[in-house]
Symmetry: C2
Subunit: 416 residues, 2 copies
């Protein structure tokens, strides 16, 4: 029977390893089983800990109540999201000086899904550029779709164009030497915590306009930008509406990692081209994909998301962000004063540190877990240029962050 | 610039028309604008109207409350779903005599997504069989992935194997003459309302075992089966775990079309084969897809879903199903006594009728809208063998259903 079973999508077999976070989970579980008394502090996965703010919980409950009454029950909603939420999102873009219309916005249940699914509307032979290190989902989903070759020994896949972002170039990806069709950019960056300057984004938009490329701009962490004048949205850059798609999420800002709401902005003027070279609206392609393969985000969740954009919701969300960013400061300053070379953490909830003593990222992971009982994320899990780096997340309880910093300072003072 | 824009996935350009339901919406809006006084009764889209039952609303609110407290807040959950829900689902399978383990189950936010996304784990050159008429999502997502040729004049796509299900064969698809790799089956059927007999399912499982094919079994409507002895799950059929994947949803049963929860069952022993002919677990491929491209279903929604499996929730859900099935009986008997030839509606919430007077399905749609102000779904929207048929949904308020039946009986008595 085996010889005739349906053929699988063999591109999956090119994937180099399990998705990063399951591997971390496995090592942590093994360590915890062997050391049942260890109080392990998780600063690995970027998952929020603060509860949903009261105005958001109230909206979620009100949405639930509405679903229980004949007069206010809602069945299928518009796949693109309810206008009350899209209008709130559009208004928040207007405040940031970004040009986004209500019907450019597609509400979804997560940016992981959106950044993973967006590639489906593009042909398989486009040349894809992405930074190294990078959020693994961008890479893996293109591998699974067959848009890459095999992985080499460093874990890099054939056909992808990797743009190194390291301490040497100030974590700013440089423009590709030649033509690429699609570019993934993430700012504030996961994992490096770097924020792209306005000038850099202007260069990228100019590049994309010249090369007629599309920028897939992941702004999932824009709410963590503290410095005035930094760019929150690619759509603050003039000329970007012809060349960019933006992804945003309530996961980290409003604490929605378990509640699930995000959105994607595709300007209606943005086009790709078909086999004959004719322009085709990417907005209409995505709309076809979204309405055919998705049935809209849960209504009570959309109510809760809208509350996060209301005056009370925003204050509460900002307070949570301030809390995490104080964690980031503590980690950054604590480790810095202990002799670590530390990056990020000023406009992003991630601290990116240079692994000391010539260790690999996974060596450091294992030692940090063993000697400080702290879980972080090995930089090499984000790409070969992440080797020798390590990500700590600012999403944690203050007391845990303080204890983790103290333990690292005390137990892990390796020579740089 | 146009000449160098990123190339789109041109398979989208093979899609014949907008997705069926947006087209219906457009015609209804146009009619309503031209006839502002008409009281239009929607029996088109299969969308529930009864509010969520109290135990489910309470669970949703309790989940929201938990999200608002430090001690009970939940961030990222397991992508496959929380065990409390997977255990409830597994228990309900056990009661039905179906062999399903907790870790065969993947919780999601909708069966539309699941039935749309499952094809990604299969190679593009598998031969796909599906019934005609059929739920359009199965077809469209395979077109979008490039697994078909162009559409012909009847709307059928090259490379797909269509299995007619019409009154002539009692709406039972016959086994393909030759080999196919993947078969979509839906029972109770959308749109025909037919239920596959145990003997028929046994034949299909035997065929799949002999041909080493995979059956994608959509059981989204299993809760509407009234007749004892009919099969609810493909996993009630011995030998099915090697050859089948099952999709189920809370959308229609528990009224979750706006709340969003569904699940997919992939037995761990089910395999496809790779390029070398070696077996590859489809469960592990789907797990990779699910964890890379999806971040789990909203926690409060999973709580609500679990409540639908609890004793009180089940009673309330059953009462709602009974309500809709009484609608189905009224439509079925009302139209039958008016001379219509009527199918389905006994173990499914859909009534499938023969369009009278030699009209096309869309002609009948327009006349039913104009003369009875009733919205249904043209059978041809589900495939060329649906031409000459029409779907009415039992999801509506009793008074609307009664009024719709009365109007059709009075205003639409065409010769058969």
């Amino acid at each position: 029977m085996v010889g005739r079973m349906p053929r699988i999508n063999t591109h999956y077999q090119k994937l180099r390893a399990g998705y990063l976070f399951p591997e971390i989970g496995k090592r942590v579980r093994a360590f915890a089983a062997a050391h049942p008394d260890a109080r392990i502090i998780p600063l690995g996965i970027g998952d929020v800990v603060l509860p949903l703010p009261v105005p958001i919980v109230d909206a979620l409950k009100a949405g639930a109540e509405e679903m229980g009454k004949r007069e206010t029950f809602r069945g299928y909603g518009p796949e693109q999201g309810y206008d009350f939420l899209r209008e709130a999102i559009a208004a928040s873009y207007r405040e940031q000086g970004a040009q986004v219309a209500l019907d450019d916005i597609f509400v979804s249940d997560g940016s992981k899904c959106d950044t993973a699914n967006i590639q489906e509307i593009f042909a398989l032979d486009n040349v894809i550029a992405l930074t190294d290190p990078v959020y693994p989902v961008y890479v893996d989903t293109n591998v699974m779709a067959g848009r890459t070759g095999e992985a080499d020994d460093s874990g890099r896949y054939g056909k992808l164009v990797y743009l190194p972002t390291t301490a040497e170039n100030g974590f700013e990806p440089t423009l590709p030497a030649g033509h690429v069709d699609i570019i993934y950019l993430c700012s504030p960056n996961n994992p490096t915590g770097a924020v792209m300057s306005r000038a850099a984004l202007e260069r990228w938009v100019a590049y994309a306009r010249k090369e007629a490329a599309v920028i897939l701009f992941d702004a999932a962490y824009e709410a963590f930008i503290r410095e005035p004048g930094l760019v929150h949205s690619i759509f603050q850059i003039p000329g970007s509406r012809d060349v960019a798609i933006e992804f945003r999420s309530l996961s980290k800002s409003a604490g929605f990692t378990g509640t699930r709401c995000a959105f994607t902005v595709i300007p209606k003027e943005l086009c790709g081209r078909d086999a004959g070279g004719g322009p085709v609206s990417l907005h209409s392609l995505w709309n076809r994909r979204h309405t055919t393969k998705f049935n809209g985000t849960s209504y009570p969740v959309q109510k809760a998301a809208a509350a996060a954009f209301g005056p009370e919701g925003r204050r509460a969300v900002q307070a949570n962000i301030d809390y995490y960013m104080e964690n980031a400061r503590l980690i950054r300053e604590g480790l810095s004063s202990a002799g670590y070379r530390v990056y990020g953490g000023q406009n992003a909830p991630y601290i990116w540190l240079r692994v000391p003593g010539g260790m690999t990222s996974w060596d450091f992971f294992d030692r940090l877990l063993a000697e400080a009982n702290v879980v972080g994320t090995p930089g090499s899990g984000f790409g070969s240029c992440g080797e020798g780096y390590f990500r700590l997340s600012a999403f944690g309880w203050r007391e845990n962050v303080e204890a983790a910093v103290e333990r690292i300072r005390t137990n892990c003072r390796w020579e740089p």
